[in-house]
Symmetry: C2
Subunit: 288 residues, 2 copies
């Protein structure tokens, strides 16, 4: 340790980690080795190292109670998606998960099936949509009483918390499946939108030639006793950003066709003033 | 990219990096691959991932104009030392470098050789020390007119900027080598000291069973026309933290014996009131 050299330095650093907690020991040893491997591979100049320090500092300074720039950094480098994959290795046939994102609210409005969650100006502007499906177990049996928690952006790509023109709680709803495991509700088709670009992560995206867009999606968190909680998105087929989601969170099985329904009878049955889009998406749950 | 899987995710993320700047492209590709390798190796739970996000956020929030907690993080993981090694692969025989640390001041007080830089209460308490040596080129020829910039902690381990009891600028001095390449000055023996432990990095050190101590040292930055700037420390032989420096910055060649000198004649010649310590350290410079 007194005789540190460029080649023995990494082992010297690792040898000083003596955590009581064996998991912390493993995490720190691995982190140090990978971080040193990165530094040894790219051989940063002192100016580059200082630029990295400044980036991390600015990212920290951008974090507030309302904004988490380090999570955005994790999202934009695919790390959040990777952690999601690692923690949700569910059985074949279970609905694929994806990232939670920053816009979930812990307590949502409870609605009856069929309710309209688009209660702001988007209802006048947007494309009316009926979302429906069932919550099922792996054998295809319906799960009655499952909770389906929904949140989404409006037709312009804004969530209620970002938009003074929407009601305070909007485009969110907590539904309960009926005896057939079914849920259904009315809304508007969501829009693609950019992640926040006014911070250091936005500057990074620009510097590396990447756009900040997320393809249009509806967030879903499904819970039922005896099953693991399922957090995912349903994506709008045809969105131009499906192949380059800035958060690397698109799985093919989550992309759904929004099908036009011109039937006046169906519109009247579901409470639409005219033609609407329809999507159907079933959630298959992982046993706990 | 629509069909993301756990196995193709890393390549998908890398494929989206399209920087105009080829060096930035290389840095980001390498960073993403090493970061994903780390995550794949340790398979963090979502709670662990969140703990990492919180650690980074708190580290950012601890950074101010006066304090750089991310540099401290880099120091404590040996990254600063590794970057120093990589950027100073000097010729055999050149003085080894080490990290600059946070306490250098850009404009230092210019002194004549022989001056005393210990102008605070440490002069009454501390162990008086004569520091001398020469600045040389690789053939052993003296370099006259070289600038030797010195800064150090006091006998209690505090730098002037941390200590209201020291004069505003203290234990710092900029010396110029004479026609024989020699410099010399009076000071007190520095003390080992802890890095700041009241932030997230201090908590990390505690959690992984590490002490925060740096062994006693005098910082030196040497500059001369035609040579590369040399930044290093001179360490005090016998310090208990030489083998476990929290910043991983000790090189064997930088550890120097502080030799007691009891000669009344020498004390009178150099301006000490009584016995003092003596160290001799030559700087061998890398041609530019």
């Amino acid at each position: 340790m007194r005789g540190l050299t460029e080649s023995n330095l990494t082992d010297a650093v690792v040898s000083q980690v003596k955590a009581d907690n064996p998991r912390l020991q493993q995490l720190m040893e691995s982190f140090i080795r990978h971080l040193h491997s990165f530094v040894r591979e790219v051989e940063p100049t002192e100016a580059e190292w200082w630029a990295a320090i400044q980036f991390l500092t600015k990212t920290g300074h951008t974090c507030t109670d309302e904004r988490q720039e380090f999570i955005l950094f994790s999202d934009m480098l695919g790390v959040t998606s990777l952690v999601d994959f690692i923690n949700h290795r569910f059985s074949e046939g279970v609905t694929e998960t994806t990232v939670t994102g920053p816009f979930h609210r812990v307590s949502n409005i409870e609605y009856e099936n069929g309710a309209n969650i688009a209660n702001g100006p988007e209802w006048e502007r947007g494309e009316h949509t009926l979302v429906r499906g069932r919550v099922l177990d792996l054998t295809g049996q319906p799960i009655a009483g499952a909770k389906v928690d929904i949140w989404q952006s409006d037709d312009l790509g804004f969530y209620d918390v970002q938009d003074g023109e929407q009601p305070e709680i909007n485009l969110r709803g907590l539904f309960t499946t009926d005896e057939n495991g079914a849920y259904w509700f009315r809304t508007v088709k969501p829009s693609s939108y950019p992640v926040p670009t006014d911070g250091p992560v936005g500057k990074m995206l620009e510097a590396i030639g990447r756009h900040p867009m997320r393809p249009a999606h509806i967030h879903c968190m499904v819970a039922a006793p005896g099953f693991k909680r399922l957090v995912t998105h349903v994506y709008v087929e045809g969105d131009e950003y499906l192949a380059s989601d800035s958060a690397f969170a698109v799985k093919e099985s989550l992309v759904v066709d929004f099908v036009k329904n011109d039937s006046a009878e169906d519109a009247a049955r579901y409470g639409f003033p005219g033609p609407f889009y329809e999507i159907e998406f079933d959630f298959v749950m992982q046993p706990a």
